[in-house]
């Protein structure tokens, strides 16, 4: 029943795409499409929540679509339900936001048809139960998001972004196809049930590598992340929120489904590889984010960082599973899924905010913004909540999932393998470093864009945005607060999935007094987000009240002190590059080969002084540039084939025929 409803909602979303083509160019098209998407995704969401809470048995169905002898299998189990919730929560938020934001869209007929198809594609990937429908839905998702990235195709950077995206997406799908091929074994039965029942050989590590390439490139693992910071900013803001907040989670779902569900028990060194890639991705992602000036690119790189954190949790879980420690595996897995859920919440919120800023000011470059807290009060509060949440600060939700990840790392001395004993504390240090750098990154983002003085006329004249966008941001901000204060509910909701995939689950959290969470045992560690929130609120309120009562409460406004020499020009305040300069100097000299040079004119001359910073993206230079160079060189040489004479073409055909006959002769 639940599965049937879901499939009908997906079909309705696809039909909505067709409707958008029909209604193209009409005024009410935006409102109709987004409202319909909102209701459909809410329906999906409610359905999935009910299925998960009722702890219902998995439902499967086979539709007579697709390949005639296979059909299209679909399945709604606990894992699918959790990810349906994640996908549709983000999608509902984006649709609500789009009701307002979409009114400012310049070319709606390039966005509206693909948006519901994108939503349908993501939902169908989560519901798919055989390789063919999985890959078909995956391609729907990729192609519709590519079309959305290319919506504003007149800008050359968007075209470049679309090109890189389609290349990486196709490469990823190829890797997944090969992975499914390996998994389906000699019989070639692609249904997931059949794959589960085939006992996977221990030496199935190529599957891990292929899934890491396929799903990992979609999720944004370094070094396959290069498309993400190009493509996510190029799309319209609500689509960016979907791509960063939701599509990366669909990639995580693909990894979890294939490795944890279809793959059988992993080896310990699989966990080591995933863990190390996760840790490296987290630190690299946030360092890249600190070097960027474009609001959306910062958020895209920050997505890479958070995906790294999720994969650290997944790697730990694999390592624990390989060593038959199901409770620890459950903790690590819960931490990873919880972080994925939290990331959807706060990343969508932040992208909505970035969209609001770019609508209000027309600018995405932080160095042209400033002082928006005065002009856009609701947006700034919402973005502040998002920044505090993503920096993993109590009492919001980012801290709860990071805390669980750290607790999982603290269980790791039980792992006997030496490689793990060295790499787990090292990755713990990398994780802590990434968290601290993320806080710095979001102080910079909020401080430069929203605080301070406006740096351009556009920033001075910003105005608050429309009602629907504000509502969407407010809802997500409240959700961040609620999940941070009451994390036990989410952990218990994740318990059926964790039980199914790791063989154990965390102790029930909702029965613990005062809404604390106790991951292992009360004598070991516990955390209570609600109490921390209440304590801070009470202390702050009480202090404010007492101070205002007993001491003075008068305020006088005056020019800023600025050591006695306030400069009226807003250029003298810290810019985004200036804020990142100490960190760039400490970390960037190694990671990005940063070189800074200053040319100062001689005394007496009226010339300007110049400050020049040069950064190199080592991943691009060492991996992608040589490959694209080689492809270009090969293409240049093969181009000769375009210009041959008729005689030469006939010669080629003749040679091919002779070669085939020779092969036949030798091998028969």
């Amino acid at each position: 029943m639940a599965l049937g409803i879901s499939l009908w909602c997906a079909a309705a979303l696809l039909a909505l795409g067709v409707l958008a083509v029909v209604l193209a160019g009409q005024r009410p098209a935006t409102a109709v499409i987004y409202t319909a998407s909102l209701f459909l995704t809410l329906g999906f969401l409610a359905n999935a929540i009910l299925h998960l809470i009722a702890n219902a048995a998995p439902e499967t169905t086979i539709l007579p679509l697709g390949l005639p002898w296979v059909g299209a299998h679909f399945r709604l189990d606990a894992l699918a339900a959790v990810f349906l919730i994640v996908v549709n929560l983000g999608a509902a938020g984006a649709s609500l936001y789009g009701l307002g934001y979409g009114q400012h869209e310049i070319s709606p007929s390039r966005v509206l048809p693909f948006y519901p198809v994108f939503l349908a594609g993501m939902n169908l990937v989560v519901l798919a139960d055989d390789a063919f429908s999985f890959l078909l839905s995956w391609e729907f998702m990729s192609l519709s998001s590519w079309a959305l990235v290319m919506a504003h195709h007149r800008l050359p950077e968007n075209r470049h972004a679309g090109f890189v995206y389609i290349l990486m997406a196709s490469f990823g799908t190829l890797a997944l196809l090969l992975a499914f091929g390996l998994l389906s074994g000699p019989d070639g039965n692609y249904a997931f049930d059949a794959i589960r029942s085939v006992s996977q050989a221990q030496g199935a590590w190529p599957v891990l590598i292929l899934v890491l390439i396929g799903a990992g490139s979609k999720a944004g693992l370094v070094p396959l992340h290069v498309w993400l910071p190009l493509a996510h900013p190029a799309a319209p803001s609500h689509v960016s929120a979907l791509m960063s907040g939701v599509m990366t989670k669909v990639a995580v779902y693909a990894f979890v489904r294939i490795i944890f569900d279809l793959g059988g028990t992993p080896d310990w060194w699989w966990g080591l590889i995933v863990l190390s890639i996760g840790g490296g991705t987290a630190v690299m992602g946030v360092l890249y984010a600190l070097m960027e000036r474009d609001l959306k690119r910062v958020l895209a790189y920050s997505t890479i960082e958070n995906v790294g954190i999720v994969f650290v949790g997944l790697g730990l879980s694999m390592a624990f599973q390989a060593n038959a420690l199901p409770d620890a595996a459950a903790l690590a897995f819960t931490a990873a899924l919880f972080h994925a859920f939290n990331h959807t919440l706060f990343k969508s919120l932040l992208f909505f905010g970035a969209g609001a800023v770019s609508t209000a000011t027309g600018e995405r470059n932080m160095e042209h913004l400033g002082g928006l807290i005065h002009r856009m009060p609701v947006t700034s509060i919402a973005v502040l909540v998002g920044c505090v949440a993503i920096s993993a600060l109590p009492p919001l939700n980012g801290f709860a999932s990071e805390w669980l990840t750290f607790q999982a790392i603290l269980l790791s001395p039980e792992l006997p393998q030496w490689g793990l004993k060295i790499m787990v504390p090292a990755n713990g240090a990398l994780l802590a470093l990434a968290a601290a750098l993320a806080a710095a990154c979001f102080i910079r983002l909020f401080g430069v864009s929203f605080l301070g003085r406006p740096r351009t006329r556009l920033a001075e004249q910003a105005h608050e945005i429309d009602f629907w966008s504000r509502t969407a941001m407010a809802i997500f901000a409240i959700l961040c607060l609620l999940v941070g204060a009451l994390p036990g509910f989410v952990i218990d909701a994740l318990a059926p999935v964790v039980q199914e995939l790791t063989g154990s689950h965390m102790p029930s959290q909702t029965i613990i007094d005062w809404f604390s969470i106790v991951p292992i045992a009360a004598s070991r560690s516990s955390y209570n987000g609600l109490l921390v929130l209440l304590f801070i609120a009470l202390s702050a309120g009480l202090t404010a009240y007492l101070v205002h009562l007993v001491a003075s409460k008068s305020v006088r406004r005056s020019a800023p002190w600025d050591c006695g020499f306030p400069d009226p020009s807003p250029i003298t305040q810290y810019s985004a590059d200036s804020f990142a300069q100490p960190i760039r100097r400490v970390f960037g000299t190694i990671v990005f080969r940063v070189r800074e040079s200053v040319t100062i004119p001689p005394p007496g001359s009226l010339g300007v002084a110049r400050f020049h910073v040069e950064l190199r993206d080592l991943v691009w230079d060492s991996l992608y540039a040589p490959i694209s160079g080689a492809v270009n060189a090969a293409a240049e040489r093969l181009n000769v084939l375009q210009f041959l004479t008729i005689r030469r073409y006939l010669t080629l055909v003749f040679l091919a025929l002779v070669t085939l006959l020779l092969v036949l002769a030798i091998w028969s």
Binding site: A426, G428, T543, R557, V586
Partner: protein, 318 residues
């Protein structure tokens, strides 16, 4: 009865840390002055400063936002809640199960986040200097602190500070190498986080040498009083942390009576005296580092913490 006593103990701890924080700051200033052959301000001068600031009118820049006005209260509240959860005279605190050591450090991180935002709020270059340098220092001090927490948690079997303090009090830990490394790393991190010499000079008037002071340059009146009190509380928190983990003698263990509490308070006061004098001597005998040597300093703390954690992972008796 037990609940009343525990509630009273927790409340007493909260008031004790609040009252003692300015005294510690005053003690350090007095000892530093004496070491420099000055008479120095009286011990209670910080209290007088706070009262004076509270009574004054707060002068705000014309473009200061609501965030600027709210931050002092948030910073103070977060620091006070964190300080109330670090055992000073008794190991068990009624609410210690609500926030473990990771949460306490993250609360201090929240306070720092908001303070850095306040530095960026008015849009002056000095606020930017303070916030960006503070962000750099935090980006290395926090991972070092987390590694220290890992070492302590792996030794004591819990991240709950009360349980760690009980464990260290029972001397079940012994003299471990990883504990020694964690102690040194914690001292380095504490110096950096509290903006003491050699990382930052709390008494400087030169803006280009400031980190913490530059962030709060625009604050005045009661706002400044709350921020200064929060800074003193943070110093007290770190001293209490080092005291309850590495010098736990005198702490009243769980379920002990009022006598043990009195002994605990006296021992705590003695520890504050010793640490205050030691910090003053250390600060007087060493010069402030250039800002870009601080990453090497904190990098060393991070490496020591990582080494300590590694030793714990690798061998049970190290």
């Amino acid at each position: 009865m037990v609940l009343i006593r525990e509630l009273a103990a927790q409340g007493a701890q909260m008031m004790l840390v609040l009252l003692l924080a300015p005294l510690l700051t005053g003690l350090i200033r007095k000892v530093k002055a004496r070491l420099l052959r000055r008479r120095g301000p009286p011990l209670i001068q910080p209290y007088r400063d706070l009262i004076r600031l509270m009574r004054k009118e707060a002068v705000l820049a014309v473009n200061a936002s609501w965030l600027f006005r709210a931050v002092p209260y948030l910073v103070f509240a977060a620091t006070w809640v964190a300080a109330a959860l670090v055992p000073t005279f008794a190991t068990d605190l009624l609410f210690s199960w609500s926030a473990d050591l990771i949460a306490i450090i993250a609360l201090l991180g929240s306070a720092r986040f908001f303070l850095a935002l306040a530095g960026m709020d008015v849009g002056t270059s000095f606020g930017g200097i303070g916030s960006s340098r503070e962000a750099m220092i935090a980006s290395l001090a926090e991972p070092a602190m987390i590694m220290i927490i890992f070492v302590l948690a792996l030794i004591a079997g819990s991240t709950q500070l009360s349980i760690i303090a009980e464990f260290m009090l029972s001397l079940a830990a012994g003299l471990r190498v990883s504990l020694g490394l964690a102690l040194i790393a914690l001292i380095l991190v504490a110096i950096a986080e509290n903006s003491r010499i050699p990382v930052d000079n709390p008494a400087t008037h030169l803006e280009l040498t400031m980190v913490h002071e530059a962030m709060v340059l625009e604050y005045s009146g009661r706002h400044l009083a709350l921020i200064e009190l929060a800074a003193s509380l943070k110093l007290l928190l770190y001293v209490s942390l080092i005291g309850c983990v590495f010098v736990p003698w005198g702490l009243a263990p769980m379920d002990s009576g009022w006598n043990a509490y009195v002994v605990g308070v006296l021992a705590y006061l003695a520890k504050l005296l010793c640490f205050g004098v030691a910090l003053a001597i250390f600060e007087t005998s060493i010069a402030k580092m250039r800002v870009f040597r601080v990453p090497a300093f904190l990098g060393a703390a991070l490496m020591l913490g990582l080494l300590g954690a590694l030793l714990r992972f690798v061998s049970g008796s190290l």
